[in-house]
Structures are given as C-alpha cells and as structure tokens.
C-alpha cells in the first residue's frame, strides 16, 4: 500500500469501511436460498414472532414449586442458624445441604440452575456461586472459582464497594492462593457495614445485622462428575468456617441420592444436613411442554405425525432432553417457513386472511398444486372446478373460507382430543396410551375411530362403573368449558344434560327396584344336564337371553353418552391431511429433521467413500455401482478392500490399486508400464491406507506378515 509519507517506517492501515465484510443479519441468512423471495420477509417475521411466543412459553419453569421449596429451605436454614438456644449450641454445626434431583437429562439442568440462582439472588441472598465439575479438577481451582464468583457478583451488584473491591480483588489474584479465610473476612466486612447505620445507632444496627446475615449459597451443578476427593476436602474446609460463614450447599444430582453416600464417607457426610428435593421427571416436563406448544390452537405452526414421531423418538430413546425437543421444534419451524412459500398463511386468522388477498400468481398456482387442495377440487362440481383452476380472485375467496375452516378445525380438535384422552387414559392396559402424546400420534396418523385400539377402548369405557363414568364426564365438561368455539359450547350443553341425567338416576333407581329375579335362570338347568348337545343348546340360549336382557337405565344412558362422544370424535378428530390447505400449517419433512437431529457420522463416511459423487458433485464420478477410476484414492482403496476377506494382503491390494489408477491416467493397456507401481502411486496408496486405518476400517495385525485386518463387514 502506498503512503503519502516521506519518511520510512511502519504504518498501520485500517481496512476501509467498504471492504469490511458486512455481517449478515439473521434475516438475510433466512432469505438466502429461500424459495419465493418475495414473501420471504413476511415469512421471516412470522417465523420470528412464533418463535418468540414459543420461547416465552417455555421460559416459564414448570417445576417452579420445587425451586420455591428450595428457597424456603435456604431461608429457613439461615434463620435457624442464628438462634442460640441450648440444642443448637450442642449440635454439631452442620452445613445445610439441598440435594436437588433433576433426572438424567443433563443438558436441561442449566436452565433450572440459572433460574434457581436468579431466584436466590432476588429473594434470599446476593451471595450465590455455582460451580461445574469440569472447571474444578483440583481443590485449588474449586476454591478459586467459588471465591471469584462470590466476590465478583458483589462488584456487579453493589456500586458502593467499588473502591474496596478494587483493592481486594487484585490482592486475591496476586497472591493466587485463596483460602476461605479471605472469603470470611470479606463476608464479615460486607455484613458489618450497614449502609444506613450511623455511628450513634451502632447497637441497634448490630442486632439487625445479625438477623440479616444472608447465607452464602454454593451450587454444585453436577455432583456426579466431581472428583470425590476434591469435594470431600472442600466440605471439610467449609465445615471449619461454618460458625463464621453461613454456608449453604445445593447439590444437583442426575441419578439417585445414593450417589452422595457413594462419594462421601461418613466422616464427611456427617458434616452435612442433607435434605432431598425432587424435581419433575423429564417425561412429565415433556408432557407440559407438549401441552403448551403442540396441543394449543394458539400456535398455528403444527408438526405432522411423522415429525412428531421423530422428535418424541429422539427424546425417549436418546436423551430425555426437553431442551433438545424444543430445539427440534425450532428447526422444524425454521425449515417450514424457509422452504414452504405458502407458510405466509400460517399465522393468526386476521393476518392470514389478509395475506390470502396479497398472494402472488405463482403462489396461487402453488395452492392449486397442493394435494389437499386437489382433493378438495375433485369433490366440487364441474363448473366450480373450472372456476377454481382458472379464476384467481375466486380462488382467493375460497382460500379465505378454507383458512377459516382450518382455524375452526384446530379450535375444536384439541378440546375433543383432551376429552378422549381423559376418558381413555385410565383404562386397563391403556389401549390408546397413557400419555396424551401417544393418543395425539394415533389421531394424526389416520382416522382414529377406524383404529382397533379405539374400538377396544370404547368397549372398555362401556364397562365403566357409574362413579367413574360420572367423574370422567365431569372432567370432560371442565375441558370443554375452556373452549370458546360455538360447536364446543353446543357439545358442552349436551354433555351437561347427560351428566344431569346421570345424577337423576341416583334418585330414580331408589324408586324402582330391579326386576332381575323374574328372568328364569338357565344355569340351574345346566347343572342337571350332561348331554353335550343339550349343553351347547343351553349355552346358546343363555347367550341369547343375555343379549336380549333388558338394559338398565344406567346402561342406556351410558351408551347414549358413548355415542355422543363417538360422534364428537368422528366429526372433529379427523386427521389433518383431510383438511384442504393443511400444508400451510403442517411441517412434514421428517427426513430433514431426522438428518439434522440424529446425525449418523458412520453412514455419511460410508456414503462418501462408496459414492463420492454424493458429496463432490463432480460429473465424472457420476456412476453407479462400479469403481470409478477417477474417484479419489481413498475411495478406490475402500472399494477394493470391500472385495477382500478378513485379512488383506497389502501387496495384492497395491497391485489392484495401481491397475485401477493406471487405467484412469489413460495409459495404454498393452504398454509395458501399465499397472507398474511407481513411487508416486505407492505413496498415494500408503496415504489412502493410513486414512482408512484412521477411519477405523482396517487395523494392523500380527497374525500374518504384510497383512492388515478388516474391521467392517458386508461386501460391495
């Protein structure tokens, strides 16, 4: 670069503003490679709105009550410590410890601890430090982390102490070895200095300070991962300072509380006063999240059955992590808005109706292409069909109606789903699943009433006793009361009538005694006869009579109720695929989600080796089945090794390799040098083989000289 300076020297050139790489905003990332760029802005905005809504919904902790108990516990501990009667003097001063059981879904714990420490800081004590096992390999580090976090938090929180902390904190850092003694001094300095206390009122403020000694809370996020030795030593040290420093521990435990006993010997655990706190199990947590995000008509973005299956499968089979579940939902959301141009219609009803009017010509054509719309068109009359396919404004009108219908469908769908769930969730052997998500998956797949399990469930419901039936229906009434749609209100009225009838029965049955006795009992006859034919006949008769037996009023009513429920199910729980324009709201690419969430490194490597075209996209390689000569060395070596047995002779392999490569170079097949191994080929081969060894396909063996062992099975 040129300078205008005459003198020699070093000059700093700041890159000019134009050259600076413009950092892309989120939106431009979204728009890039997005189908139908016109509407992409709207879609991006809709997507973000939805995601914000989901985020705020999930931020509200479901196990808040556990955390509240914990807060109570820490408060109680700090208050009991300060009274000085005989018992507390005599008692060995234990460190109050809360063992918080969180389940094995470790990634989720961060959220919990974050909200816990926020709550603690707000309402109990400003002195909260949380430590993780991986940053505390040795006692030294643990100590340092605890001190840093405790003292630093104060710097942030309190401006008054700025000066003092400027003094103290370098001292800590300079002397490098920090002990709890320093913390103790710091703590007493903090608590002694009452911000309002004037020298004259020294006594009274002293008393108040004693009452207001906030506890120092140390959170061990993952107890299992801590080195037991470090933890033991730390507890031992803390117990020496407990009379001066009101410490409280919180252990985050992923497995079971007995780990505490495994990790700490009696001499150490006797220094702790451990209390257990059980958080919600992860499946319960998932249920609440599904309840909030998936089974809500408020959020218009939906997942189809397969995608749900993938997400739930990842949760149940792999990680038990609710956070990952929500991440998966986020991915689906992004993908949907990114890849589906018609997702402009996936929003609130008013906006969606407006967006319909704004639809561009290509988008209208896209609507006409939708399978669900095609099905809808086929059902219409001939003239209407032509209109729909040709007249854009007519199509827009119809679309508006269809969108309205879709919204109505959702509004009715979820209450009925919940009703059906309450009715069937307590049946023996759970034909329709214990959890609502199972029922939801069944309903998404196909018409639920054609399902065998549904029929068996209904049969079981038919056998319910009166008390149970009434209480279940009562619950259904409560569910329907929450819904605002017209149809649900109608259903509610009907259901309430039914319930009233059930209640009337109580009084009615007392009036009319049963007339069961009048029916002649064939069982008595049965005992007399021994003839096989006769027996069969009587059995048939018995069957007949049972069928013909007059139903009691209760049974009649029960059947009526069931029929009512059945009708509701049939009219509202049809799968989303049956609704025209369902593609607007439902994301259906389960393969994409699976590929992103459940990576298969091994399969990808194998795909890359056996079919390099898949990744390289070079047309020369576009061949099926056979080894392409022009493929990368490692692919050729890989293909050749597939043809070998358990042990591979390196020399044979090299020969084969060099033949293939020579052919690729276009050497004359008849020439003398064809297939000869030269140095370059040799080196290339060795490199390919060592790469294969690194990837774990072969390994060196001592069984035979010049051979390598193959580690994978399955031929070419």
């Amino acid at each position: 670069m040129a300078t205008s300076s005459v003198s020699k020297g070093c000059f700093v050139f700041k890159p000019s503003a134009k050259k600076k790489k413009k950092t892309l905003s989120l939106e431009s990332y979204f728009v890039q490679g997005c189908e139908d760029a016109e509407s992409s802005e709207i879609r991006f905005r809709l997507c973000q709105e939805l995601w914000d809504e989901i985020k705020t919904d999930t931020e509200v902790r479901t196990d808040v009550h556990v955390l509240l108990y914990l807060l109570d516990f820490t408060r109680k501990c700090s208050s009991t410590r300060q009274n000085s009667d005989w018992t507390s003097q005599m008692r060995a001063s234990e460190i109050p410890t809360a063992a918080l059981m969180l389940g094995v879904n470790v990634p989720d714990h961060d959220m919990t601890f974050q909200s816990l420490s926020d709550m603690l800081k707000q309402s109990v004590s400003p002195h909260v430090a949380s430590v993780q096992a991986k940053e505390c390999g040795a006692l030294k580090h643990l100590m340092k982390k605890v001190l840093e976090r405790l003292m630093d938090t104060v710097v942030v929180v309190d401006d008054e102490d700025e000066e003092e902390n400027v003094e103290t904190s370098p001292r800590v850092h300079r002397s490098m070895h920090c002990s709890l003694g320093i913390l103790c001094d710091w703590y007493t300095a903090r608590t002694k200095k009452s911000p309002t206390g004037t020298p004259g009122k020294k006594r009274s403020s002293q008393v108040r300070d004693e009452q207001q000694q906030p506890p120092v809370v140390i959170i061990f996020k993952d107890l299992e991962a801590f080195n037991p030795r470090v933890l033991q030593d730390f507890i031992l040290i803390c117990s020496q300072y407990i009379d001066r420093l009101p410490l409280t521990f919180i252990f985050g435990i992923a497995t079971s509380p007995s780990t505490i006993q495994h990790m700490l010997p009696h001499s150490v655990s006797s220094l702790l006063c451990i209390e257990l706190f059980q958080s919600l199990s992860c499946t319960q947590h998932l249920a609440t999240v599904i309840d909030k995000l998936i089974l809500a008509s408020r959020i218009h973005f939906k997942l189809n059955g397969k995608v749900m299956q993938v997400l739930i499968g990842v949760f149940l089979y792999h990680d038990f992590s609710v956070r990952n579940f929500i991440k998966g939902l986020q991915l689906a959301l992004l993908e949907h808005f990114h890849s589906q141009p018609l997702s402009v219609l996936c929003c609130k009803k008013k906006q969606a109706l407006f967006n319909v009017t704004q639809l561009s010509k290509p988008n209208l054509d896209r609507i006409r292409q939708l399978p669900s719309f095609k099905r809808y068109v086929e059902k219409q009359e001939a003239q209407e069909q032509v209109n729909l396919m040709t007249d854009d404004s007519h199509l827009k009108e119809v679309c508006q109606q269809l969108i309205k219908d879709l919204h109505k469908y959702h509004k009715n769908y979820y209450p009925i789903l919940r009703c059906l769930h309450t009715l069937t969730s307590s049946l023996p052997r759970y034909p329709l699943g214990k959890q609502i998500r199972e029922l939801y998956l069944i309903c998404l797949a196909k018409n639920v009433w054609e399902n065998e399990d549904y029929q068996s469930a209904m049969k079981l419901v038919k056998m319910l006793a009166k008390g149970e039936m009434v209480s279940l229906l009562q619950k259904c009434v409560e569910i329907l009361q929450l819904s605002k749609s017209k149809k649900m209100k109608n259903a509610l009225v009907q259901l309430e009538e039914l319930l009233a009838k059930f209640k009337q029965l109580d009084t009615a049955t007392e009036m009319t005694p049963t007339v069961e006795a009048s029916i002649p009992s064939p069982i008595k006859n049965l005992q007399k006869k021994t003839d096989l034919f006769q027996l069969q006949k009587t059995l048939l008769e018995m069957n007949e009579s049972r069928r013909a037996k007059r139903l009691s009023p209760f049974e009649n009513l029960r059947n009526e109720a069931l029929e009512f429920i059945d009708n509701l199910v049939k009219s509202h729980l049809s799968p989303p695929e049956s609704q025209p324009l369902y593609e607007v709201c439902y994301y259906s690419s389960s393969a994409t989600v699976r590929r992103h969430l459940n990576a298969t490194p091994r399969t990808s490597i194998q795909a890359a080796l056996s079919n390099p075209y898949y990744y390289l996209q070079v047309h020369l390689l576009h061949e099926d089945g056979t080894v392409s000569n022009t493929a990368p060395d490692i692919c050729i070596a890989y293909k050749l090794h597939l043809e070998c047995g358990r042990l591979i002779n390196l020399y044979d392999w090299l020969e084969a390799y060099s033949t293939v490569v020579s052919a690729a170079e276009g050497n004359d097949q008849d020439s003398e040098n064809f297939g000869k191994v030269d140095e370059v080929k040799h080196a290339r081969f060795i490199r390919a083989v060592s790469a294969l060894e690194f990837l774990g396909f072969i390994k060196s063996t001592k069984q035979k000289t010049d051979h390598v062992a193959r580690l994978t099975w399955g031929g070419c």
């Binding site: 005989w86 993952d222 006993q261 149940l316 792999h318 038990f320």
Partner: protein, 445 residues
C-alpha cells in the same frame, strides 16, 4: 487432679483454668507441658500427636495455646491447597502481614526459611513459638522434603520453634523412605465409656438438673456406645434426642427420678435414630421435624438410600445392560450368548482355572468400546442406526458414573470402560425393558 498440671513456668491460676477445660485429658496435657518446658526454654523440635477422631487433640492444643497465651500458628493441612498457603499462614501469625508479603510467588521451602530467618533476626523469639499442624497426614501427599524439613525446622531457622503435628494416623505410616528426624510421639487414647459419660454430662441443659441429664447420657451411651465412640457425634445425637426424652416429663406422666420409665420411653426412639439419623439417611433437620409429627406420617419419610431408581432413555438402558454383560461375562463366552447357531458349549468345557470363581465376586472387568457396541446391537430388539447420539449416550453414562472409563481420556483409539452398577440396579433396569438379563450372565448359567 490439678496436681498433674503443675509447671514452674506458668501461672497457677491459668493452669487451673486449663485443667477445667480439659476433662479426662489431664495426663496428656501435663505430658505436653513438661515437653514444652518453660516458655523461654528451647523445646523439642517436633512433637507428633496421634489419636482417633474426636479424641481431643486439637482441643487440647487449642486450649493450651490460648489459655497460656503462647505464640503459635495453627494450620489446617486440608486447607493448604499449596505449600505457599502454609508458609504464608505461619509467617502471618508470627510476624504479621508484612512478612507474609515478602514471600515470592510460588515459594519454595528455602524461600520460607530465608524469610523466616530474616524476620526472626529482627524480632527474635523470647518464648518458644509453636506451629500446630492439624490433619498432618496430608503432608505426606505434598513434596517429600517438606515433612522432613518441618520436623527439624528449629535447626533450619535457628529459632526457638516447635512443630506439633496432629494426625489420626500413627507415625509409622509417615516415615519417609529416606529417613528423617524422629519426632516425639504422643498418643491420645480413645475416651472410655465412663470418660465419655463424664464429658457429655457437663453439657447440662439449663432447665434440668445435672442428675437427670447424666441419666439421659447414660441411656444414650447404652444404645450408641457399641456403634459410635465419636464424642462429637454423640454430643450431636444427645442434643437431637433430648427433647423426646423430656416429653413424658413435660406431660407430667413421670418424675425426673423414674429412670426406668424414661428408658422405656426413649429406647425404641434411640434405636430408630441409630438406623436413620446416625447414618445420615435422614438429616438432623428432618429428624427434628419427624419427632413433632405423628408416627404414621413419619413413616412416609424415606432415607437417602431408598431412592435408587434412575430413569434413563431407552437406548441408554440397553447400553448399560450391554456394558454390564461385557463387564461380567468372559469375552470368549460372547459367542455362546449372542450367536444364533453357537452349538452346544457346556459350561464345564470352557472353564478356565481362574474363571471358576464367580465373576461377580471378582468385580467388573474392563472392555473395549467395540465389544460394548457389538453386544448392544445384539441385545437391543430393533435395528438401531449407529448415530452420534448413541455414542454421546455412552459418554453421558460415564459422567453419570454408571460407567467408568478405564483408559486415559486421551486415548481416542479404543477406549475401555467398566460397568459401575450393581446387579440389583441392572436387574431393575432390565425389568423395565423386558430383558431377562440373568439368562445372559455367565455366572448364573
């Protein structure tokens, strides 16, 4: 009694105070005093005191130092994560912070000696200085020369200083290979039952008579003495259960002197305490709450070890089962369990000499990752793609301490693991996935 604690160098009144504060330890205190000699006299360079937990070692030292106003530095070795901290604390309590700040960063022993001598020449000792090191057994883990140097610190710094080491471990376990200066050994024996009785009875509850409290202690010791002789723990238990003991008295059913009835009332209660609160199954806070609750309610409160159930994702369960099988079955028998046409191999045929003993008695054996996965794929009932999350589950099982990684973290090639769960645990896990694990275990064939 006080006759034992007579020493020309110290004030008689003070010695009396010391004797009162050290019940049942007069002999040891007297011995120590005579070892220490008069304040201005040089003392023996190092004294090693050992005795069990809560046998009064630290207490005796503390009282002696405080009451007789001797210049001393008390250092707890657990707290000294680095020797720098140890040096700093010693210098701090002898010469003030200025001296401590003279130490360089990460000081060596010679730095310490240099600073000490320098300070010592400025303010020479008129009296013996004492360095009391608690939990001295941890000194063995530090630099080998530190212990030997401390033992003859008097020579090194040329000052009237005595190092007193307190430990729960006998001196034999300390002696370094290279040999060292032998300190004077002093043993603190355990308190006998009557001594415990005497010491515990001193903490009388202010609103009850001494005789009554002593009777309570007698009963308490009767129950607990066989399992616990730790004074600290006993005192704690005494405090926890005293309110229950006084209950009939408060209700006016019994008089203070009616020991038998009181015993009948408290004995089952103490037995229960032994099983729960003493083992820390139940925390002392919960124990106190339980005492106020009704009997049937208290039954609902479960101890720590009662919660053993662990919820795991589906494949993690199978991974754990596979790990268990790999740990407890000999590798040669895998063919027998997991191949369809394995032929008939009788157990006796391939018994090797060392395999005759039960594998469960020998504990888990390490196994490579390959074997774990091979077994996993054959026990899991559906086709599982080898996804990244399967592998990450293995490492999360390691962090949950259900598996243990045997090979070093750096070894990426073929990591080895051990299964760290018990048979009961794995049986419970296997039951939830309907897998009959006993059928696959070589020991139960």
């Amino acid at each position: 009694m006080t006759a034992l604690l007579q020493h020309p160098g110290y004030d008689e009144e003070r010695l009396k105070g010391v004797a009162e504060k050290l019940p049942c330890r007069e002999v040891q205190a007297g011995m120590l005093l005579s070892l220490m000699g008069q304040p201005h006299q040089y003392s023996y360079p190092s004294i090693f005191i050992y005795g069990h937990r809560a046998s009064g070692k630290s207490h005796v030292m503390h009282v002696l130092m405080k009451e007789l106003e001797l210049s001393h530095a008390t250092v707890s070795c657990v707290e000294c994560v680095s020797i720098a901290l140890l040096f700093e604390q010693v210098l701090l309590s002898f010469f003030g912070c200025d001296a401590a700040s003279l130490l360089p960063r990460s000081p060596s022993l010679s730095d310490f000696v240099r600073v000490y001598r320098q300070q010592c020449s400025q303010s020479p000792a008129k009296q013996t200085r004492y360095i009391v090191m608690e939990k001295a057994e941890l000194l063995r883990d530090t630099d080998a020369s530190l212990l030997s140097a401390l033992l003859r610190l008097q020579e090194l710094v040329e000052d009237n200083v005595t190092v007193i080491l307190l430990s729960e471990i006998a001196w034999d376990k300390f002696r370094p290979n290279t040999g060292c200066f032998e300190p004077l050994l002093l043993h603190f024996p355990d308190y006998s039952k009557s001594e415990l009785q005497q010491i515990l009875s001193q903490n009388v509850h202010p609103s009850y008579s001494a005789g009554f409290y002593s009777a309570y202690i007698n009963i308490l010791l009767g129950v607990f003495y066989s399992v616990c002789r730790d004074l600290r723990e006993l005192r704690h238990l005494a405090a926890l259960n005293f309110s229950k003991f006084c209950e009939p008295l408060a209700e006016g059913k019994v008089k203070e002197t009616d020991t038998h009835k009181l015993w009948k009332h408290i004995e089952p209660h103490l037995k229960k305490a032994m099983q729960t609160v003493y083992l820390r199954e139940v925390s002392s806070l919960q124990w106190e709450q339980m005492q106020q609750m009704e009997e049937e309610e208290a039954g609902a409160l479960r101890g720590l070890s009662a919660h053993t159930h662990v919820e795991l994702p589906y494949y993690s369960k199978f991974l754990l089962i596979a790990a268990y099988l790999a740990s407890y079955n000999p590798a040669r028998t895998d063919k027998r369990f997991f191949l369809k046409h394995h032929g008939k191999i009788r157990k006796t045929n391939f018994l090797k000499k060392n395999e005759k003993t039960s594998n469960h008695l020998l504990g888990p054996k390490p196994f490579p990752l390959d074997r774990l996965l091979a077994i996993f794929y054959s026990v899991v009932d559906s086709r599982v793609a080898p996804t990244a999350s399967i592998f990450s589950q293995i490492s999360s099982l390691v962090t949950l301490q259900l598996l243990a990684q045997v090979s070093h973290d750096d070894q990426l090639d073929a990591p080895k693991y051990k299964c760290a769960v018990s048979l009961d645990f794995i049986c419970a896990i296997a039951r939830t996935v309907n897998f009959d694990i006993v059928k696959y275990l070589y020991d139960f064939l």
